[in-house]
Symmetry: C2
Subunit: 262 residues, 2 copies
Amino acid sequence: MDKSAPVPKNGESWTAAVLVIGDEILSGRTQDTNINYIARFLAARGIDLKEARLVGDAAGEIAAALNALRAAYDFVFTTGGIGPTHDDITADAVAAAFEVGIGYHPEAYALLEARYGREDFNPMRRRMARAPDGAVLIPNSVSAAPGFQIGNVFVLAGIPAIARAMLEALAPRLPQGAPLHAVTIAGEVAEGAVAEGLAAIQKAHPATAIGSYPYYRGDGGYGVHLVARGRDAAAVEAAARAIEALLKELGATAARIAQPGG
Amino acid sequence: MDKSAPVPKNGESWTAAVLVIGDEILSGRTQDTNINYIARFLAARGIDLKEARLVGDAAGEIAAALNALRAAYDFVFTTGGIGPTHDDITADAVAAAFEVGIGYHPEAYALLEARYGREDFNPMRRRMARAPDGAVLIPNSVSAAPGFQIGNVFVLAGIPAIARAMLEALAPRLPQGAPLHAVTIAGEVAEGAVAEGLAAIQKAHPATAIGSYPYYRGDGGYGVHLVARGRDAAAVEAAARAIEALLKELGATAARIAQPGG
């Protein structure tokens, strides 16, 4: 683990938040997919994603949200706003949030100058070499311009392919907790018919979170996906079996399905 | 406009936030699509979506986020957590946030009892008839169980088809502001090559927001989508023409593309 990562808390799990930055998300132009990807990435590492926020390209709002999240959770991942254009203001907003200066990061400057050539490394492209004082770079294997880490905050690109490459690059800096186990059982039953039994199962299995997600198919069929989630694989399995027994008792089908992210 | 909607502020635009509720979003199981849909719904009505938050099925966190958002924005839309199961706690959390009581809403109770029949209207299904004191129902044309409005907060289902039906049903309660206009221009040019000219265009067109969103195609092609957004259609058009002129000057293609949500 990188020494810049926080000290593990005895036996507790780590917590995280995502801050999505960009007018294009709030205008409805762009469907965010980074939160979902980061959620799965963290679940595999035993880090609980506890909250996500989406804000526009406004420095004050970015800084306020970031300060709230970095105080409340072990790790914060931001996406968006680190390109070369005038609306890319994340680095400045992060520096303001941390109350530190900002300038060219020598390593970032050198690698971007090499990438573009001295001629094409214009003032706007140089913006991508700026980072808050004290930041550590996060490599970008897709398009060179790096992200950065400062304290417990990881600043990633908004373009999904680049955000994903940056997550892979920073993964060794994160702790590995007990991964989340999840079993999903599909039952062709009305949610309201299974709800009472499900509440009893939740009560009997307090260490496992029982979730219920109804679905409606285009052909008029419907049912419910019942999910048992937790860090203790044996406890999750016991809860899953109780759910299967409940569905059987109600005369419904019960099929385990593969469902990433549980 | 419904009398429960806030008084329009002279000439200003209205603001809104979305609060997505559910462990399944933060675990990575479910990709949220409600924020994007609500963003487009609001943009068409001239209401600015300023922020979104995603929290899990935890009453304290739901209430805290709701109180922050409803104080900061004209309208808040929540999705998720209004079904019949034990993990559906949104109504209770909203009542706690507003510091009001909660009980069966007579109208909701009657319509759900009619839907299920007295026999099958079990205690868990009755949970869907609960609403905070003073709430006004939001009809659900898909599956009967209603959402509700209390103050400036609209509480919707999480299932996208139902959330959308509820939005249609509540639309007459919202003001109609000047809709957002957006023109998107695709240029086959590197973002870093267009950035300087774009910054100058932003400076010359302060009433229009200029956004830049690079894309990478599977075949190795790349380019940038340049977006002009604003309430004044003529100002947006003037900025769009300046962007087209810039791309032409750089020897790049410039094609207007249809892009909902701008």
